[in-house]
């Protein structure tokens, strides 16, 4: 027996992801503001989908309240920028702050399971929304603009915002990739299969789940801070809206819950749909909701999970390939 992580396909693909990231970084030099802004929106979707998938697909924690962190990311950016910190530094601080918030509430949140966790997080988001609404220094119910960005030329604003979004996406996704390839990836698989059994075998369930929860909190906060930098304005009703979760669940379920590549596919698909149907509108949301429900019930592995199952390939190697080796060959590691 021999265990391999890399195949030729996954090696080529992982390298090409790096190339794509570099190519994206060059976009602001070659394209207009419309393209830059659209790409930023796509990066926001990718961050949200991968981070929610980290929590639900690998941690088994379905959250209906990640908008809590999106909102905190956006409002923390406003707050830090209001304190005189340069807005782009404020964005980084806001993402870190969201991660810290996740760490702070994790002892409480991670005691919950299933629907209690899902709705407990939702209520947390609602509480934050109400608190922001009651706070006039954060603009109350009407919202606030990130005016500090206006000191930069609009074309630089968009470029900087996109680079930060790209930076967040690369760092967050690389972190998840490394975590899943570390011992934690195996632990997660054990927890997902049977939490009690995993615990009794010495898997540190608490630490593992907390790591994902904090990563997802920081990640959604990062998305929130990019959202406000991209749109310059935020109000509590929309940033803390459960609509974000609706979009996220669509992306992850369609792409493939619990697969590393699925959320990317889901995000690109949603982005394409948004572009074609010019986003919003009740019919559009009916379609998204129905598709998500249909995938949950009839194709729970999503597009990528199904492809992976049929073809047995993995483009970004977070798993293992166990293959038989002829006995004559040198020592095996199993």
């Amino acid at each position: 027996m021999r265990v391999r992580r890399w195949t030729r396909t996954s090696g080529i693909f992982t390298a090409s992801v790096g190339v794509v990231a570099v190519a994206l970084a060059l976009v602001p030099f070659n394209f207009g503001s419309d393209v830059i802004q659209k790409l930023t929106s796509l990066l926001i979707l990718i961050i949200l989908a991968t981070m929610w998938n980290a929590l639900a697909g690998y941690g088994g924690l379905v959250s209906v309240g990640q908008q809590a962190f999106i909102g905190v990311g956006a409002y923390a950016t406003l707050y830090f920028a209001g304190q005189g910190i340069p807005p782009y530094v404020a964005m980084l601080l806001a993402a870190l702050f969201s991660g810290l918030l996740a760490l702070a509430i994790s002892p409480f949140a991670l005691r919950l399971r299933g629907a209690q966790f899902a709705i407990g997080m939702w209520v947390t988001a609602e509480i934050l929304r109400i608190l922001v609404t009651l706070n006039s220094s954060l603009g109350g119910g009407t919202g606030l603009s990130l005016i500090q960005l206006n000191q930069y030329d609009p074309i630089y604003q968009q470029a900087f915002t996109m680079w930060i979004a790209l930076g967040f996406a690369v760092v967050l996704i690389a972190t998840l990739f490394i975590l899943l390839r570390s011992r934690m990836g195996t632990s997660l698989q054990a927890i997902r299969d049977d939490e009690e059994a995993a615990q009794s075998l010495g898997v540190r369930v608490g630490v593992t789940k907390r790591t994902l929860f904090v990563l997802a909190g920081a990640g959604c906060g990062a998305a929130g801070t990019v959202i406000i930098a991209n749109s310059h304005f935020v109000n509590p009703g929309s940033i803390f809206s459960v609509q974000w979760t609706a979009l996220i669940i669509f992306m992850v379920l369609v792409g493939g819950l619990g697969t590393f590549e699925g959320p990317f596919i889901g995000a690109i698909l949603l982005f394409a749909i948004e572009t074609v149907f010019s986003a919003g509108g009740a019919w559009y949301l009916v379609g998204l909701g129905a598709t998500a429900a249909a995938f949950a019930v009839f194709l729970p592995a999503g597009i990528w999970g199904t492809v992976q199952h049929r073809l047995g390939i993995q483009l970004l190697p977070v798993g293992y390939y166990v293959e038989a080796v002829k006995p004559a060959k040198e020592g095996s590691a199993a």
Binding site: F108, R111, A118, I119, W122, V123, A293, A296, F298, G305
Partner: protein, 301 residues
């Protein structure tokens, strides 16, 4: 006096939350699933009544009866077409499926009925505005008392059904262990469908109560779901009487909060909910009788 009045109004408000939450509690008790579309189905029930009243001008009572029948059928179909399948693939799938359903119902209502805020209060006549004056500062609104009475009737009726009838025993058997129930000739799928039908109809009753006491709109569902879930959790997951008490506690918390500042009402309810979650994680009345059921597996991929 202000505080006493707040507690009394809170109890009545709590009757409304209990009614709203009953269906959620039934579905959790029987199938161990939380229906995230519960609030939207409640609002849908209110719209069915509104449609019957405004289009066919039938009496309110008849409209309510027809709406409940429609919602029963809808719940039955929902279980057979969607939820029954989702039950087979772990605890997270029903959550995801019903969340998708919630988005669908909410936006379908928006398309069908526009985002306008509506109320059935005007159609209810004296029912919506009558009250008993106890002292100069305290009065009991008829509708509030009626809602609480209906909630108690529903809870006690269900309790008696589950405890004392053969069919009730079959429901309990199907919830304890669907496979074993099947062995002794109980069709768990049909029982689940009947439970969902009942849950959706009672949700509609809650939605109608909402429409009578205040206003409703297509996007009102998620808030109702949160309140219903809070009532269920405060009272203890899986216990029907617990849900009644949980609803009342939630109502009291909100009423007391609103004495301090009307904007704190909902916040106070949320905080009590989180405190209960953080505290014992089992609610006030433990759900021992449903607890024998084990969760079904983990994430499916």
């Amino acid at each position: 006096m202000i505080w006493l009045n707040a507690v009394i109004q809170g109890v009545l408000l709590g009757g409304f939350y209990a009614l709203l939450a009953c269906g959620l509690s039934i579905m959790f008790g029987v199938m161990r699933i939380i229906n995230l579309a519960h609030g939207d189905l409640a609002v849908l029930g209110a719209y069915v009544v509104w449609l019957l009243l405004s289009t066919y001008h039938v009496p309110l009572a008849l409209a309510v009866v027809v709406a409940l029948a429609v919602m029963l059928a809808l719940g039955y179909l929902l279980q057979l077409a969607v939820l029954d399948r989702s039950l087979r693939s772990g605890v997270l799938t029903p959550l995801l499926a019903t969340f998708g359903l919630s988005v669908v119902v909410q936006n379908a209502l928006l398309i069908a009925f526009s985002p306008d805020v509506r109320s059935l209060g005007g159609d209810a006549g004296s029912l919506a505005i009558s009250s008993w004056r106890l002292t100069s500062e305290i009065s009991l609104p008829l509708l509030g008392v009626l809602t609480l009475a209906v909630a108690i009737l529903v809870v006690e009726g269900l309790q008696a059904f589950l405890r004392r009838t053969t069919l009730g025993a079959q429901w309990r058997a199907a919830s304890e262990d669907a496979e074993a129930a099947r062995v002794v000739g109980i069709d768990a799928s049909r029982i689940y469908a009947a439970a969902t039908a009942l849950a959706v109809a009672i949700a509609a009753l809650g939605g109608i109560a909402l429409a009578l006491r205040s206003t409703f709109e297509p996007s009102a569902g998620p808030t109702q779901l949160i309140f219903a879930f809070e009532a269920v959790v405060i009272g203890g997951l899986g216990s029907l009487r617990g849900t009644l008490i949980g609803g009342i506690l939630l109502g009291i918390a909100q009423a007391l909060g609103s004495v301090v500042n009307p904007q704190y009402a909902v916040l106070a309810g949320h905080l009590v909910f989180l405190a209960v979650l953080a505290g014992r994680n089992s609610g006030l009345l433990s759900a021992a009788r449903w607890q024998a059921l084990r969760p079904r597996g983990g994430v499916t991929t």
